[in-house]
Amino acid sequence: MAVKQMQYLIIGASAAGMAAAEAIRKLDSEGSVTVLSDEQDMPYFRPMIPFVISGKKKFSEIMLIGQGPYQGANIDVRLNSRVETVNTADQKVSVKSGEELPYDKLLIATGSVPNIPSDIGGVEAEGVFVLRTIADARAMARRAETAGHAVMLGGGLLNLKAAFALLERGLDVTLIVKSPEILSRLMEPDDTVLIRNALNKAGLKLMTGSSVTRILSDSTGVIGVLLDNGGEIPCQMVCIGKGIRANVEFLDKSGILVDQGVVVDKFTCSNIQNVFAAGDVAVTFDPITGQRIVTGLWTNAAEMGSCAGRNMVGRPSAYSGTFGILNATQVADEPFVSMGIVHTKGTDYETHIAATPKAYRKLVFTPDGTRLIGALFIGDISRAGLYRYIIRERMSVKDIKSDIVNHRLHYGYFLR
């Protein structure tokens, strides 16, 4: 009996979309897999775009297809194809060009869009950036050719990476954050000493507890920023990194349930049959707290995308959820890993902190001390994956607690 060829349609060609496409291709060699991108460039590793700003990598070096798990065999990626509406009744989507594309299974993997706070004036001036796409990175690199001083608004990881890229190009960079510390989503103020030192050493100027009310510009573009205390900082470019939100506007009339992002069940399916969602655009749940969360992480998106791909082919695959926080990176000379629950102020979590001049460790257990729920490592991040495993699998830590706290944990303990 001939089986009908499935038409898989994926909106979004970044981590979740491309991981889903690969997962589908692995299980179904017959069906058609079409991926729609609203960008002009072929898929690329989005977290790598700061390297394009610094000039350390060319675009060709961060392209996705052909690298690692992304082989792209028989996957049709269509560029410049922004989806305007999704018609779930007739199972088709319409693209900006007017074209309509039918689907049997649809994946929404449109990611997120940057927040631009409404209380900052003058954001439309030339030389104001939000870093999201390779096009943004190229524009920043161009502006940086003539700019001498850049002001970064927001102390998140992406903005820090962009700040470093500009420092590497020889610009002066000032980072302004409203909160009392940088990376406030990933750690508490008391945890940041090592990172702060590393930033100072690298030459980044940091202003905490202040915010910008207006971006000043003339015919040359940005010429400075006005602070809430009335002060003024001259600069030639501004980069806004004030968080993200799910890219869901085009779903307004689709009937697909949206609450912060596309709401999906454990099998990555939305409230409408044959419509799935994965990545930044999807609302998922945190296995530690059970709370619904939207994350903005490549790693999570790729994992959820693969899972959605399997579900679309009809191989039920439960998504085990993700931590709201699951970040690893290196800031200047300091590597760090932050995962699970690391904000403990005002809670009764059992917290163990060990700080030396070179390394900082914070381990967070449930109030009764029986389960590990979060870990923050700065300086020495070795074997961090074991801790992630313990948190994620909700393992009892009874026999290995002192080894966890004292950084003696290794895989051998899991074999008992």
Binding site: Q67, W298, T299, A328, V337, I381
Partner: protein, 168 residues
């Protein structure tokens, strides 16, 4: 079809002598000679680890080259891929030292070259017929075999024990 070989660990045979670690470091040194490797800078790194679990158990641990390798899927720069032989490799040119692989590896076997900011792990010694750790192990706690071959050995051993009346 020939199955790819893998490195298996026989925990009951490991005496914790750490010979495998030395052999691994030497194989991954510039000189590939113990006496020169000792003084190389940066120091050559071993990719097999011998852990100790109280009261007195020794556990050699190394990259399992997982079928659904979490590190490969998590990598944000596309540096990690699988060779035709099934070996998961990190391309140093592509690695940016973000340590996402370290964060997701459930075995804790991905190391960091601090000097160059590159991740490293077992590469199954591409230049050798038998990986250095396996070749050096004096008790044959490490074996390099196909899955079929290894499980066949285990069955054989079990059968022998049963016949001799030890394994009741």
């Amino acid at each position: 079809m020939s199955q790819p070989k893998e490195i298996f660990v026989r925990l009951d045979r490991c005496v914790g002598c750490h010979t495998c670690k030395i052999a691994c470091s030497v194989e991954h040194s510039k000189s590939k000679n113990l006496f020169e490797a000792i003084s190389e800078q940066p120091a050559p790194k071993n990719r097999v680890y011998v852990e100790w679990v109280p009261p007195d158990r020794k556990v050699p641990v190394l990259c399992r080259h997982c079928e659904d390798a979490p590190c490969m899927h998590a990598c944000i720069s596309g540096a990690i891929s699988r060779t035709e032989e099934g070996v998961i490799i990190t391309n140093s040119d592509k690695c940016i030292g973000c340590w996402t692989c370290v964060m997701v590896c459930p075995y804790g076997v991905i190391g960091r070259h601090l000097e160059t900011r590159k991740a490293y792990r077992c590469d199954r010694c591409p230049d050798l017929q038998v990986p250095a750790c396996v070749d050096s192990c004096p008790t044959q706690a490490l074996v390099y075999r196909t899955v079929e071959g290894f499980s066949g050995d285990v069955r054989q051993d079990a059968a022998r024990e049963m016949i001799s009346g030890k394994g009741n």
